[in-house]
């Protein structure tokens, strides 16, 4: 039940994030959308690793079934990767802001060409 709720949340976050990415014009807003969407993708994996009434997959942490450790491990990796790409893209946004004095995507497209 919790897992299913969380997968629905993950889908909603994907929609929200990607929709924001597509409908905003400012680069930082687009990146915020991307941020939310990647959070959704991560949550999606964790939610699929969950089992009803599960406990953390650590030895000695109580009885009962444990959650699947593999998706959790993947998500750890994915979170770091998303942070890395975000930091790099923000640096590029700073660079463009300093040189082109705008963060508006249509303006940048007009100046730099497709």
């Amino acid at each position: 039940m919790e897992g299913q709720v969380a997968t629905f949340l993950a889908s909603a976050l994907l929609v929200l994030g990607l929709g924001t990415l597509l409908s905003r014009r400012n680069l930082i807003w687009k990146l915020l959308g991307l941020n939310v969407a990647s959070g959704g993708a991560a949550l999606f994996l964790v939610a699929l690793g969950h089992r009803p009434q599960a406990r953390p997959p650590i030895l000695g942490w109580g009885p009962g079934p444990a959650a699947d450790p593999l998706p959790q491990a993947l998500v750890l990796t994915a979170i770091v990767i998303h942070f890395a790409t975000l930091a790099l893209s923000l640096v590029y946004v700073i660079f463009l802001t300093e040189h082109r004095h705008t963060q508006d995507v249509p303006k940048l497209e007009r100046e730099e060409g497709g």
Binding site: I58, Q72, A73, L88
Partner: protein, 212 residues
């Protein structure tokens, strides 16, 4: 265009949501306790991240390092902002920094070193250590502190940690190294790498900071 965009994302989200309904209820988990202890861990996630999939983690650390190289390289031609620190300097904050610095250091190292036993690990520990140090450094004036810190030492710590991790990953993958020592060592190396990395990113961003 905008309406079409929302429609497309909604359809996609709906499709994904529909696809998950076929996955519930989830099948039982294959046994994991034995494999975890085989890697010398109690935390199964640590056994996966630092043991079975150390190769992935190694590539991930490389991704992280490359982002840092990019931050340094791309900000290089831009002018730096001198002047007022983002956080107001005050004697109280400085005293607080003196008290909190060692505490954060100990906490970070503990979190990393015990990552194979419970929740923790090098990455979050490095992030906490790096950003905590920076927050406190802001109180003292970050430019001054950055000048005092020996840059060669930082980069040696960063790339040396990376190189050691590559050796560790290669050894684990080809020679079958395993055991608790491997996990602790890997976590500490990641801690060194990520905390210096987080420091470097934040310091560079702060040096070129915008209006906040």
């Amino acid at each position: 265009m905008r309406r079409g965009a929302w429609l497309a994302t909604l359809t996609l989200g709906g499709l994904i949501g529909w696809a998950t309904t076929g996955l519930f209820p989830r099948p039982p988990l294959p046994p994991w306790e034995a494999v975890t202890s085989q890697w010398g861990a109690r935390n199964a996630v640590a056994a996966v991240v630092l043991g079975a999939r150390l190769y992935d983690t190694l590539l991930e650390v490389l991704v992280f390092s490359m982002a840092l190289v990019g931050v340094r390289w791309a900000l290089r031609p831009l002018p730096q902002t001198e002047g007022r620190p983002p956080v107001a300097e005050s004697p109280l904050l400085e005293r607080a920094a003196d008290v909190l610095l060692p505490a954060i250091g100990v906490f970070g190292v503990y979190l990393a070193a015990s990552g194979h036993l419970g929740p923790g690990g090098g990455f979050p520990a490095g992030a906490i250590l790096g950003s905590g140090l920076l927050l406190l450094a802001l109180a003292r004036g970050i430019r001054a502190l950055a000048r005092e810190l020996p840059q060669p030492l930082l980069s040696r710590l960063e790339y040396g940690g990376l190189a050691a991790l590559i050796v560790l990953g290669g050894g684990s993958l080809t020679l079958g190294w395993r055991g608790a020592w491997l996990l602790v060592l890997a976590n500490l190396l990641i801690l060194a790498k990520v905390s210096t990395g987080a420091w470097v990113v934040l310091e560079h961003f702060a040096a070129h900071r915008g209006e906040v």
